[in-house]
Symmetry: C2
Subunit: 355 residues, 2 copies
DNA sequence: TTGTAAGCGTTATCAA
DNA sequence: TTGATAACGCTTACAA
């Protein structure tokens, strides 16, 4: 297979210099006749500009990287779905990294910015270590961090507010008359686990409800573990009337177990999840869930990055996306069929699978 | 912010030529003393090789593109999840394109291969047009197509077998004693709609069941539309005892409507979905679904591409991934709680959302 | 309006 | 073992 045509090939064919070819290709003032010849030659040869050579010269790749912890995690995918179109519209290609929840991989990605294969990076790290901060300070490439960074860190930063999110949910349950509100959490040594646990305690306090250790059950952020945790909880505290679950998968596990135990949801026990993933709308009863605004965070991050890419230097900015309580059947009242409250009709047609 | 160091900076600092620097960096035979000096200089300067310059010289970018129709579609995401680690392990970066189901965008992506910003492409087109075939024939970059291409097309090709998939489901329903098996399909002018509709008809025929037009309902591949279609169907054919749904979302809509109508699933009506998305395991009752092997197709495509990237030329290959019927509660018997059949425990911990 | 030539940061050839 | 030098394909002064 022969090599592809370059501006040299075209120049030769059109009988002009490579400079003229470049001018025509870039729409710089050129004699009509020359334009014609060059365009003709380019057309005939099926010429396409070499992006690598252009990048070397221009020092811009028109690529942006998004480093997420886990390609399988719906929260990151929600970000991805928003980031992609924003970048595409601005003429940037998206390079996707999955760091598999390994800190060393995240550092690798930051280090690789030195290779200059992207103009910018959006990263959503699990937690920000000292190593992260060092790399960030040294980076010559614009970075936007989705997550918590220490105050004063000079990076654009988009954050969620899971504390307020938990409070929204607890207030909602309280307003429904629930007073024995349990927390089913993931491990406390994770950032979300710790934050959500603390927020639960605070929210109870502000409502004047006692903090009862028996009402707190630690499991893991998966469905089966969530179910097990809830089973233990029910055995210990049979009079529990609401479950605040630290994510949607735990909540799904809770629904499984409550159903098996013959407890009606929401009549006997109300259930709230977090993250508002697709699964929340799909489950039955559909699941009330605290959206932490993954989609909005993705969008905000992409926009911050573009701003910096196009606008040049400015002070680092911080955006906090407010949480939102999405009320569905698991707390709202009677579980209902199509068209009823919380069935989620018409909300997410973007999930459609035609393949 | 000063420019980053290049081999020139290092050469100067180490007091050697750029050629020596390059040799050291590439591990070519060099005097120990020179190696030491160069490494020291590189370390002090925090030097990282410029990927763009290397690509220009080597004509390899170590990037591969994946063009999917829709970042929101779980089937493509399942592919992505498999493709990503395979490429990463082989040292390739992943460039993600979303063509938004627009044919012109797919052609654009194929055209952009001429820019040589990637070494290869995996594409999952909605349907393959004449324009696609022309671009493919002209492409100087290895391409793997996930989907149907005409026989004789000279591309690596990975395909599903939805025909056999539908048959598996119908056979399953038949074996359960169902005889009034309806088909709830999406639009017939889509590739999956047409294929699944035809396969339904064939499967009935082979089982000696009559093809009854009343049992076929066309809607769209979304939950609300699926629900509406099933409502119409129930009104017209009250004695239907099984629903073959053309995808999982339609099946979820079916569950909504059946529940509202007081029909028990699966006792009164059995329900089967297609694509085996996350939603199938999350719904209640959990949904029997035909997996078309999205994950396996993604993996196979990535492997085919790597083979060609690393191994050089060979004849185009075709891989067909067999479908698989994943039996859950919506056909299997009593809907059950945790631990019971079809509850999906321990199957998909990769979905866990900690964020 | 056009061509010559330098340069983007590498790698690789060829003499020394 | 090393350095000077020519690519890779493009953009852009600078001269003509």
């Amino acid at each position: 297979m022969a090599d592809g045509p370059t501006i040299n090939t075209i120049a030769e064919r059109a009988g002009v210099s490579i400079a003229s070819v470049s001018r025509v290709l870039n729409g710089l003032p050129t004699r009509q006749e020359t334009v014609r010849k060059v365009m003709a030659a380019a057309d005939e040869l099926g010429y396409v500009r070499n992006a690598v050579a252009r990048s070397l010269k221009s020092r811009r790749t028109h690529q942006v990287a998004f480093a997420m912890a886990d390609v399988g995690n719906p929260a990151y995918l929600a970000m991805l779905r928003q980031i992609q179109p924003v970048l595409k519209a601005a003429g940037y290609r998206l390079v996707l990294h999955s760091t598999d929840a390994v800190v060393a991989d995240e550092i690798d990605v930051l280090h690789s910015l030195g290779e200059r294969y992207v103009d910018g990076l959006i990263m959503s790290p699990l937690r920000v270590t000292e190593a992260h901060l060092q790399m960030l300070a040294a980076a010559r490439t614009p970075v936007v961090i989705i997550g918590q960074v220490p105050d004063g860190t000079r990076v654009d930063n988009v954050r969620a507010d899971s504390r307020t999110g938990v409070r929204l949910a607890i207030d909602h349950l309280y307003a429904l008359g629930r007073r024995r509100i349990a927390m089913v959490n993931g491990p406390l040594d994770t950032v979300p686990g710790a934050a959500r646990g603390a927020a639960y305690r605070e929210a109870l306090q502000d409502l004047g409800l006692p903090y009862d250790e028996n009402l707190v059950q630690i499991g893991d952020f998966y469905r089966a573990e969530g179910g097990r945790a809830v089973a233990e909880l029910l055995a210990r505290v049979p009079d529990v009337d609401a479950l605040m679950c630290a994510n949607d998968l735990i909540a799904l596990g809770a629904l499984d177990v409550l159903r098996a135990a013959g407890r009606r949801v929401p009549q006997d026990v109300a259930v709230v999840g977090m993250d508002d993933t697709d699964l929340a709308a799909a489950s039955w009863p559909s699941l009330t869930s605290v959206s932490l605004g993954s989609a909005e965070r993705g969008k905000a991050a992409a926009e911050l990055l573009l701003e910096r890419l196009q606008g040049g230097d400015r002070e680092p900015r911080r955006v906090t996306v407010p949480p939102e309580l999405v009320i569905r059947a698991s707390t709202a009242g009677e579980p209902v069929g199509p068209g009823g409250p919380g069935a989620g009709y018409g909300q997410r047609t973007d999930e459609g699978g035609k393949a």
